[in-house]
Amino acid sequence: MLYLLGAFVILLLLVAGSRGLSLLFGLGINIISIVALLILIADGFNVLITTAIVSVIILIVAIFMNVENPSTANIAFKTSLLIMVVIVLITIPIEYWASAQGMGVEDQEELEGFSLAAGVSFPQLAVAIIVVNSLGVISETSVAITSGLNEIVENKPTLTPTEVFNDGFSVGNRILSTQTNTLLFNFFATTFPLFFLIHSLNDNVGEIINDKLVVAEVITMLICAIGVILTVPITSYLVYRRVKNKSSKERI
């Protein structure tokens, strides 16, 4: 493990130079925030409130430390916050409906010897899992779309809302495809051992599509995708509003 860590740090500094140091610093803060989140939840703090606070901190670090242009960072941060709220609002009813919290029969071996009366609300944790899962994807998407759109908008003298939205979607198309790939391939990474195990437990199709862990993974991927999709119109709207405010001020 130490060798891996060493290789990572050396390569990072070689390729990214001094930028590498601030990257390591940002990663460090993110890891500390997540560890704090875990400890607070285990100590009995409310899962959803703690997750919300820690997520905001993570978004601030991820966006303001990585983006140099203040107007891009500002819009990207606002967008990610809005998307977070939307994701929580969608996830709570869907998770309640799906009852896909906690661990499944497939985890039996791992659970041996544990007291299952954990005192932590696993249904709430299921929501927190989706929110944490989406943090990186959402912050990256909003930054990428905002900076792409800002670049286009700044080089055009006049703008109608339709134009900004059209540009937003043309920038968004590529990002949506690549993020979908990332989400899908990660879904493959986590589910192939799961599907293999389910098969060896001799399950039929009916049981697979109703399986707690399978449904939880699919829902996580889909809700993250919803977050990515919604980033495009929200960013376009915020960029449009900024441009409009700026031009009306100039006229006065």
Binding site: M1, Y3, L4, L5, A7, F8, L11, L12, A16, R19, L23, L38, I41, I94, W97, A98, S99, Q101, M103, V105, L111, S115, L116, A117, A118, G119, F122, P123, V132, N133, L135, G136, V137, S139, F169, R174, S177, T178, T180, N181, T182, L183, L184, N186, F188, A189, T190, P193, L194, F196, H199, G206, I209, N210, K212, V215, V218, I226, I229, P233
Partner: protein, 367 residues
């Protein structure tokens, strides 16, 4: 004339959205009534009665309430269709592995002999609902859906084939299968996004070389340190052979991000060549590194949160069972951390490798 035309297009667009919404709603309604397709008995819960509640504190000072409920429902399928049945269910309020049932839910049962017992919640309706929600959102907006959906579908088909092969070979040639699958899905993704062009080929070779180099380097480093600190036996669900499962997971997980990175770097360099036709190989390479530098942080973040989110349940189980933070993290997150470090090495190495390949290829082009 122009107004008429755009009016026509708008009408078509709304019509398409309406059709998608109708299909989604019909699919959701269908799954609500699809019990006849299942072999296992399914009941719809009509009445819940709480029989017993006991609050207890375990040896780790976790307070949890154990509840016993009587679940009464009516069969939706099998020969007993329409008949009533009552079953007992016990759950902890934290619901780690057990389940609180509610009125209106459809529940799958298991029949052993003449005895019925509760198996699990029927979740296909919510699954279809969420898929429908994504589709409706996609169709409400001007994304080029055709490409996106084709690439997702093709990749799912390849993944299905991969799973079939794994099961047929009893997981004996996992690594080989993973490599073939990874080559296929990244190729499909690139061809669908960029088209069958030389740009796609360039991005593809960068992706393959970067992934291969970083995985080989990491495996070498892991072997040098005799896997110290990495608990291979803790891969998901304890599936064997541990090492192959771990490496396969790393490959799948990092592939999407590296694809994203190579496409970003190489397309920016292609743009640059278009603007400045006599740009030198060295300048291209340098700007490739500069662009890539900005991508490293966000891409590592994506994987960081995906990997950590996956382990939240088990980390909290360990912590609530009185384990120290150190022991918990070693048992639950060390493997994830190793995965992240290998991914990180891959993400970093992709920057010079892609910049090198792209600058070589692009400068040799005439236009």
């Amino acid at each position: 004339m122009n107004n008429n035309l755009s009016g026509e297009i708008m009408k078509k667009k709304y019509l398409r959205i309406c059709i998608v919404i109708v299909i989604a709603i019909l699919a959701v309604i269908f799954t609500e009534f699809d019990a006849f397709l299942y072999k296992d008995p399914i009941i719809k819960v009509e009445n819940i009665k709480t029989l017993e509640k006991s609050k207890n504190t375990d040896q780790y000072k976790n307070t949890d309430t154990q509840v016993t409920q009587r679940v009464t429902g009516r069969f939706l399928n099998t020969a007993k269709r329409g008949q009533k049945i009552s079953l007992k269910n016990t759950y902890y309020r934290s619901q780690l592995t057990d389940q609180k049932y509610r009125v209106g839910q459809q529940v799958m049962l298991t029949k052993t002999g003449k005895h019925y017992s509760i198996n699990d919640v029927k979740r296909d309706t919510v699954l279809v609902f969420t898929i429908g929600l994504v589709m409706v959102l996609l169709f409400c907006m001007q994304f080029s859906r055709g490409k996106l959906l084709t690439s997702v579908l093709l990749n799912l088909v390849v993944y299905y084939g991969f799973m079939k092969m794994l099961i047929n070979t009893h997981n004996s040639i996992l690594l080989l299968m993973t490599v073939i699958t990874a080559l296929l899905i990244s190729g499909i993704a690139l061809i669908v996004i960029l088209g069958p062009t030389s740009d796609a080929l360039m991005a593809y070779s960068s992706t393959v070389i970067s992934t291969t180099v970083s995985i080989l380097l990491s495996v070498l480093l892991l072997n040098l340190s005799n896997n110290s600190g990495v608990h291979m036996e803790l891969t998901d669900f304890g599936l064997q052979p541990y090492f192959s499962v771990f490496i396969s997971q790393v490959i799948f997980s990092v592939l999407g991000v590296i694809l994203d990175e190579t496409m970003d770097i190489s397309s920016s360099l292609i743009e640059m060549k278009k603007e400045i036709s006599d740009v030198s190989e060295k300048t291209l390479f340098k700007s490739g590194i500069n662009i890539g530098r900005e991508l490293i942080g966000p891409l590592i973040n994506i994987l960081l949160f995906i990997v950590i989110a996956e382990h939240l349940n088990v980390v909290l189980l360990y912590l609530s069972n009185g384990n120290s933070i150190n022991y918990t993290f070693e048992m639950t997150l060390s493997l994830g951390l190793a995965q992240l470090l290998i991914s990180g090495i891959g993400i970093v190495l992709t920057v010079p490798i892609t910049s090198f390949i792209a600058s070589k290829v692009i400068t040799r082009r005439t236009v």
